[in-house]
């Protein structure tokens, strides 16, 4: 079987990851619903994971994939804690619109 990077090339994966990361960043800037912002953060994390796997294949080294494994674990922990915080915010303010969270503003 021919190798994936010989057929496709690393640059295509770089472009794909950059576009996906930019879409995630756009989501964080554009939306004000906190859950959608969480999903955008997940998209950004996935873009970086995809690029790590691509370079792990380029260098033929397993360590990139181990890093992806760890970053998935961190993403899972982040989502669990973040959603718990969102639930608690929703209980206190009745909405998850981030523009309502101005209590810490001086």
């Amino acid at each position: 079987m021919e190798n994936i990077l010989q057929a496709i090339g690393i640059e295509n994966y770089i472009f794909l990851s950059v576009m996906l990361f930019c879409i995630g960043a756009f989501g964080v800037l554009y939306r004000r619903n906190a859950i959608i912002m969480f999903m955008s953060i997940e998209i950004m994390l996935n873009a970086v994971n995809l690029l790590l796997v691509a370079f792990s294949t380029l260098h033929q080294d397993a360590e990139g994939q181990v890093f992806v494994f760890f970053s998935m674990a961190v993403a899972a922990a982040e989502v669990a804690v973040g959603l718990a915080i969102l639930v608690s915010i929703f209980r206190n303010t009745g909405s998850i619109d981030i523009d309502n969270l101005k209590n810490l503003k001086g």
């Binding site: 997940e42 494994f69 993403a75």
Partner: protein, 169 residues
């Protein structure tokens, strides 16, 4: 169908569903599009022949994280399109920032591209589950254990945070 065609189809699905996640008004639709996006990224991992990561990705993201997000959306009863419209200025600022970020990152990577040499496959096995397990449990033993502690702490923290707080009167 060549690998390049499969790649282009998967990449189009990934980008389109990612964009739909960001712009759809209903959070439930966003979550469904995000699941599709995660599945297509899992397809990319399968194209790389990274079987372990493809499985873990599907289980963790499409299984655990999306179920968590969907349950939260339903718990907060957010499945209606009641998001207030942002002001034109902030939407414009977001679009300009997105375009600039895209431009800068693409420019950087295009500029850096000639330094990436041609790819040669050495034919050795470096990403099967067997090899990854050996690397994970020999060289990365301590971080692996720390990740388990991190997940435990995150679980306890999530339970404590979302527990109903008793008022102190």
């Amino acid at each position: 169908m060549s690998l390049l065609t499969i790649f282009y189809i998967l990449a189009a699905v990934t980008l389109a569903t990612g964009f739909m996640t960001v712009i759809s008004k209903n959070p439930i639709h966003s979550a469904i599009y995000l699941v599709l996006c995660f599945f297509s990224i899992g397809g990319h991992y399968l194209l790389f022949n990274a079987q372990f990561l493809a499985l873990v990705h599907i289980i963790v993201y499409a299984g655990a994280i999306m179920v968590l997000i969907l349950f939260t959306i339903m718990l907060m009863n957010l499945n209606k399109e009641n998001e207030p419209i942002k002001s034109i200025a902030s939407v414009l600022a977001a679009v300009v920032a997105f375009a600039l970020l895209c431009f800068v990152m693409l420019a950087v990577f295009i500029k850096a591209m000639p330094q990436i040499e041609n790819y040669q496959s050495s034919g050795q096995d470096y990403q099967s589950i067997k090899v990854l397990g050996k690397v994970l449990l020999n060289e990365y033993m301590v971080p692996f254990e720390f990740v388990s502690i991190l997940l435990l702490v995150a679980m306890i923290g999530a339970v404590l945070l979302s527990k109903k707080q008793k008022t102190v009167e």
